[in-house]
Symmetry: C2
Subunit: 236 residues, 2 copies
């Protein structure tokens, strides 16, 4: 039985972390909102009374369960599909890494929307300039340095143990997204975080991911998503 994934059909957004896990592990799924009329259906589903409503997409329908929150969906998939370690210690550690990635994703989003998500970027450009500077100069070095250290210490090329987990796939997406949004800053940052660059390449070469990236299922980065390229927010 294929899972039903519900997420906005025109952006990678937070749904992409789930898509990458499903694609890498070759798990059948329907990206439901990408069908005709799918976005309207998604909006209706979000408003429909439910015992486990989601505050926002993505959510995954797995038989009788409807599971929301990206990191929670990955926790579920990790347990069911060997996308994370089985043991308690490894399972919690990988989830901890994913939650730190989620924090980073929120900070990246807010660099172009520091005042309000429902205002246009153009209405908060000055604030975005200040916040993006802090992101480039303080937050990204701290976050990327952290993940680089974890990779270096583990030594296998993956964040934990000897095989990839959903957190590795999500970290790939972080590198890809940041390269799109902040190409100049990333050139500088990646020089100091070579382990991240290697992880990115390693994930890109995995058969499921390589096929996905070439397919129409992979949406392009755009100025509607979390990672947005505004040249005025980037710097060396």
């Amino acid at each position: 039985m294929a899972y039903d994934l519900w997420y906005w059909p025109t952006i990678q957004g937070r749904g992409e972390y789930v898509r990458l896990a499903l694609e890498d592990a070759d798990i059948p799924y329907n990206d439901c909102a990408r069908n005709d009329g799918g976005e309207d259906k998604l909006v209706k589903l979000l408003k429909k009374p439910s015992d486990t409503p989601s505050f926002a997409p993505p959510f995954l329908i797995a038989g009788k369960k409807t599971i929301g929150q990206t990191a929670n969906i990955l926790l579920f998939l990790g347990e069911k599909h060997a996308l994370a370690p089985k043991g308690d210690a490894g399972r919690l550690w990988v989830h901890q890494l994913q939650l730190t990635i989620a924090d980073l994703v929120a900070e990246i989003h807010d660099s172009h929307h520091p005042v309000a998500s429902n205002l246009y970027y153009e209405d908060q450009k000055d604030e975005a300039a200040r916040r993006a500077k802090d992101l480039r100069e303080n937050r990204l070095p701290k976050f990327l340095g952290y993940f680089n250290d974890v990779l270096k210490r583990n030594g296998s090329g993956w964040l934990h143990g000897k095989s990839r987990s959903y957190a590795d796939l999500s970290l790939f997406q972080i590198v890809e997204g940041l390269r799109y949004a902040f190409p100049r800053a990333m050139k500088t940052l990646e020089r100091k975080t070579p382990q991240l660059t290697k992880l990115r390449d390693r994930v890109a070469e995995r058969p499921g991911i390589a096929a996905y990236l070439k397919s129409e299922r992979r949406l392009a980065f755009t100025r509607e998503g979390i990672f947005r390229h505004y040249p005025e927010l980037d710097a060396d």
Copy 2:
């Protein structure tokens, strides 16, 4: 064997969600950084090489495990100490709620620090005024309305099933914190979210929580924490 909790010793912050769970379930723990010299030790621990380093406090030492990220610590405690349902569906649903609370906590924090955490509030007052307005008028009604609906639908007075989970305790802290930070806005908001007010009262009356709130272990809300009272950011 008591757990070792490590968190900044002078603020409630994100550590408070863990403290409330430990106190409610009467789980022995040391709030390590509150001992003499504890803050220096915490800073040293954060820099010490580790197989499972935390990006930021809180983290919990449980025997050989060191577990970071608030929601992840609660996931662990929930499984071990009946602070969450045992079954897969309930366990994931409660975690989903906790992750939505974590999103709300980050948005509340950023209402007084929309540009950068490491700048003073005074250096981002104009931006904070805009962001706090959006928080009061759009985000809080949406988040609090969501949790009110979940409580109403479940009907037992708790977010899930017939007993409290760590998510209920965290939601108590949200109400308390928002009452401190935005007393005027909350007066209006709580009129529309009576289930949240009832939940707050119900949690406050639990023996472990009532004893904790009266004790010296409960720190006061201050302008150093996540919930900060700046009258100029509040409004009816």
